[in-house]
């Protein structure tokens, strides 16, 4: 699967106008040569806010917009993704899901038959983590001749629902791919070094979807693990979400870090990529750029780790301000 970053005349729908959805609408609205972005939300006042802010580049979705050639970005609460994705796929629309809950991601991956039957595409996990993390993992793997392990770490959260989800992720567990089999992640935390301003943080096992998605793109890699960290203690304990949302700046910077180990030119090599951004901002850019390219994809379910050449997508993200970095040892 390759991406070429182009716009097209297919209508784009943003379903859900939370912290991510509102920014997806903004990203798409800023894209030239596409029709006005159609907005759906249970919160009608949010549609009004978006229209006030983005003008005639967006408008409320109406019944006559129920077209089969649309591409829909689902940025709703986790429970809504599977039924909405199924409905849109059955109607023949391409779907981009920002879901990050491993259980939801697994159910979305199971929609392969639905997508193929309607000749539609469903891109699962097109956000910050998963999403940008998967692209970076693929890009790093492409730099090596063989890969023995992919190790992903992330910190941060976007909007209110994302904060709640991330708090669950910190306390939860999802399988990791170890030595060629699904396994329970090892307990305990370890220090991981992110770029400034995040720097060093303890990360531990958590309910992250990356192993599921990266394994699809890199099925021969023996070990794929993912770790989540807490950027501050406000994400821990009872009432954490409320405390975080009461802060003057509700959206701290987050980060993803991907460490890929393998061989290059017959020698052991390691590639480390990372990105630091406000998670909802980066997630929205990833979702929007992915949506702009779904017309290029084959029918079925896919993830961003399955993009054979992620460079055009990363380049477009960098152009939109979501920039990745590499750790370069001194020589």
């Amino acid at each position: 699967m390759t991406f070429t970053v182009i716009a097209n005349e297919r209508p784009f729908v943003v379903d859900g106008l939370g912290a991510v959805g509102m920014r997806v609408a903004r990203e798409l609205a800023a894209t030239p040569d596409i029709p006005p972005v159609l907005l759906r939300s249970q919160h009608t006042e949010r549609i009004a806010v978006a229209v006030d802010s983005l003008g005639d580049r967006v408008r409320r979705w109406a019944d006559e917009d129920d077209r089969p050639d649309a591409t829909v970005v689902i940025a709703r609460e986790a429970a809504a993704h599977v039924p909405l994705a199924r409905r849109h796929l059955e109607a023949g629309r391409n779907v981009v899901s920002c879901a990050d809950d491993p259980d939801v991601v697994r159910q979305l991956l199971d929609l392969e038959d639905v997508a193929c039957a309607s000749e539609s595409t469903l891109v699962v996990g097109a956000a910050f983590s998963p999403g940008l993390s998967c692209l970076l993992a693929r890009h790093a793997a492409n730099a090596l001749s063989s890969v023995t392990s992919v190790r992903i770490a992330m910190v941060g959260a976007g909007g209110a629902r994302c904060v709640a989800r991330r708090a669950e992720a910190v306390g939860g567990v999802a399988p990791v791919w170890r030595d060629g089999a699904w396994d329970t992640p090892s307990p305990g935390t370890e220090l991981v070094w992110f770029p400034d301003p995040v720097q060093a943080l303890d990360v531990g096992p958590g309910a992250l979807a990356e192993p599921l998605l990266v394994h699809r793109g890199l099925p021969d890699v023996p070990t794929i693990t993912a770790f989540v960290g807490q950027p501050d203690r406000s994400l821990a304990g009872r009432g954490a979400v409320a405390r975080l949302l009461r802060r003057s700046h509700p959206e701290p910077v987050g980060a993803v870090r991907v460490e890929v180990v393998g061989e290059r030119d017959g020698e052991e090599a390691m590639v480390v990529y990372a990105a630091v951004d406000r998670p909802a901002v980066a997630a929205a850019a990833v979702a929007a750029v992915t949506a702009l390219n779904t017309g290029e994809l084959a029918a079925g379910v896919t993830s961003l780790a399955e993009v054979s050449d992620p460079v055009p997508l990363l380049r477009e993200l960098a152009r939109r301000g979501v920039k990745a970095a590499t750790f370069e040892p001194a020589t």
Binding site: E190, A324, A325, P329
Partner: protein, 45 residues
């Protein structure tokens, strides 16, 4: 009975130390040299 209490206390203390160590993490290898550099140029072509 006293031995049992001592054993229970020792286990509790060991658990507490273990919890503190887990909270503090296992360390990790800090980068000794080098640094982060934005991907650009050939890396994005």
């Amino acid at each position: 009975m006293r031995a049992l209490r001592r054993a229970a206390a020792a286990m509790a203390l060991a658990g507490l130390v273990g919890a503190v160590l887990r909270l503090r993490g296992t360390g990790g290898q800090p980068p000794q040299n080098g640094g982060w550099r934005e991907l650009s140029g050939d890396e994005l072509r």
